[in-house]
Amino acid sequence: MNFRGLFVYRGSSTASTEMLVGAGAFGVFFLAWYAIVAVGVVPERFLPYPDAVVKALWGMFANNNFIEDVGISVARVWGAFALSVIMAIPIGIWMGSYRIVGAAIEPVVDFIRYLPVPALIPLLIIWFGIGEASKIAVLWMGTFFQLVLLIADDSKRIPREYIEIGHTLGARPSQITRDIVFRSMLPNMVDNLRITLGWCWTWIIVAEIVASRSGIGHVIWSMRRFLKTPEIMAGILTVGVIGLATDQVIRLIARRMFRYL
């Protein structure tokens, strides 16, 4: 435990100490929440006690088959995310490698990137219906165009000397891309993927609220009709917990993969 370092300007601390601080902050958050409801600043109908939310969550899993909705949302997020990643990595690196590709694709991507995804949902529903395809399309629209630019930028940031070393060791461009560019940008890429995966959760809830008969977003939206605030908050909490857990797992994997950092 190293508490002193926590209060030094740009100081450092140990992982376990920081974990303790993080858990403490969560504790404070819940206490404050509890206090606000107890004092009666906000009516309980609008802001229920934390334990009412937990109880609601338990009830949703026990009686309403909520696990199926969670599974459906997770599957949509990962399906669309995988599609974005599989397309963005090669296209992004390609954009960074040849100016002809970059110059041709960048303006188009930049244009689409600034279109608000919710505005596209009506169009995507007309094109793809209200089935799974339209959800995947919404998530893909919301992530691919951002991700491809991030990847292109990362690949351009490789030191020029790395590329020239590749040439003078006798590597062909495809080999330089595989063995030097890709490997060199990988840690940054994993960071970008982590951030992009978070956006997927924003878009899936939006998509499920607008047009869906299943998924966490659909559950949250239907509970609104009966003013079931605890259930709504339980749904939101579920998204937060899944996001936090996924993020930690990816960080852990990254730490193992990139021991050299």
Partner: protein
């Protein structure tokens, strides 16, 4: 027709960087011709920004000449390949690989040798640069001087005909620099490879070179070619830097360089000119 072409022949080489909206065209190399023998240690010396690095990069095939040609063992240089090995001033050893893996990477694209031979070569150069103890260290766990040794070993592992070094010790502290200068002389003696070494450090140039090629300020023209080998014969060590001949050569080179810098009006009278 001569029977044997020179090892490296640079003839009538000029280089102009094209202008664009942001800047005018820059004339960096002006009609340079030079022959280099096999196994010769050549130092390109010149004021900062004079174009000596660009000339070396043209020899390495990393830049195209505007006019003139470079031939390596009788073959025209048209682009980079593993026969022209580069070592940069910036650290270029790959952080995701260990010291040994970095050196082995130098052999990765050779198809003239087997996997077993590649490992043997990597071990050979690992030992030659004195990093056997650090074989399994990631390169950001070792010092800058060690990283440059890794870079040199990796380049040698590719089996180049000539080693092109662009101020490789420029970012290192004085002690490490001297240590690596001695180490580099040892390596070049054992490997018998031609070296072009770019620097703006006069002492480094005199200590390392068989011949120093001195360049003018931009555009780079050859001002003087000085054979060091003729004056300082035999194996060099740090004591060489304390000898009379070394002082004399160093002062001569320094004066030539000072008057070249003076062309740009930056510095006063040359040393020992009595002014």
């Amino acid at each position: 027709m001569t029977a044997n072409p020179p090892f490296v022949r640079i003839s009538g080489l000029s280089k102009v960087f094209d202008g664009n909206e942001a800047h005018d065209a820059i004339h960096v190399i002006d009609n340079v011709s030079l022959d280099i023998d096999a196994g010769e240690f050549i130092v390109f010396l010149g004021p900062s920004g004079c174009g000596k690095t660009t000339l070396m990069r043209v020899v390495g095939g990393l830049e195209l000449a505007t006019s003139g040609t470079v031939d390596l063992v009788g073959a025209r240089v048209t682009g980079p390949d593993r026969h022209k090995g580069m070592v940069f001033q910036a650290y270029t050893s790959f952080p995701w690989l260990t010291v040994y893996q970095n050196i082995l990477f130098g052999t990765k694209y050779r198809n003239d040798i087997s996997t077993v031979e590649k490992a043997e070569i990597a071990h050979h150069y690992l030992e030659l640069v004195g990093l056997s103890e650090y074989a399994n260290f990631y390169v950001n766990r070792i010092s800058g001087g060690m990283r440059q040794r890794v870079a040199i070993a990796r380049t040698l592992a590719a089996g180049p005909d000539i080693l092109l070094m662009d101020e490789p010790f420029g970012a290192l502290d004085a002690q490490t620099r001297e240590f690596l200068q001695v180490k580099l002389l040892e390596i070049s003696r054992l490997e018998k490879k031609a070296v072009i070494f770019v620097t703006h450090d006069v002492e480094e140039a005199v200590f390392l070179a068989d011949r120093i090629v001195m360049f003018s300020a931009r555009p780079a023209k050859i001002v003087e070619i000085l054979s060091i080998k003729d004056t300082i014969s035999g194996q060099r060590s740090l004591e060489t830097k304390e000898t009379e001949e070394f002082f004399r050569l160093r002062n001569h080179v320094r004066n030539v360089m000072l008057s070249e810098t003076n062309v740009m009006g930056l510095i006063g009278a040359p040393i020992g000119s009595g002014a």
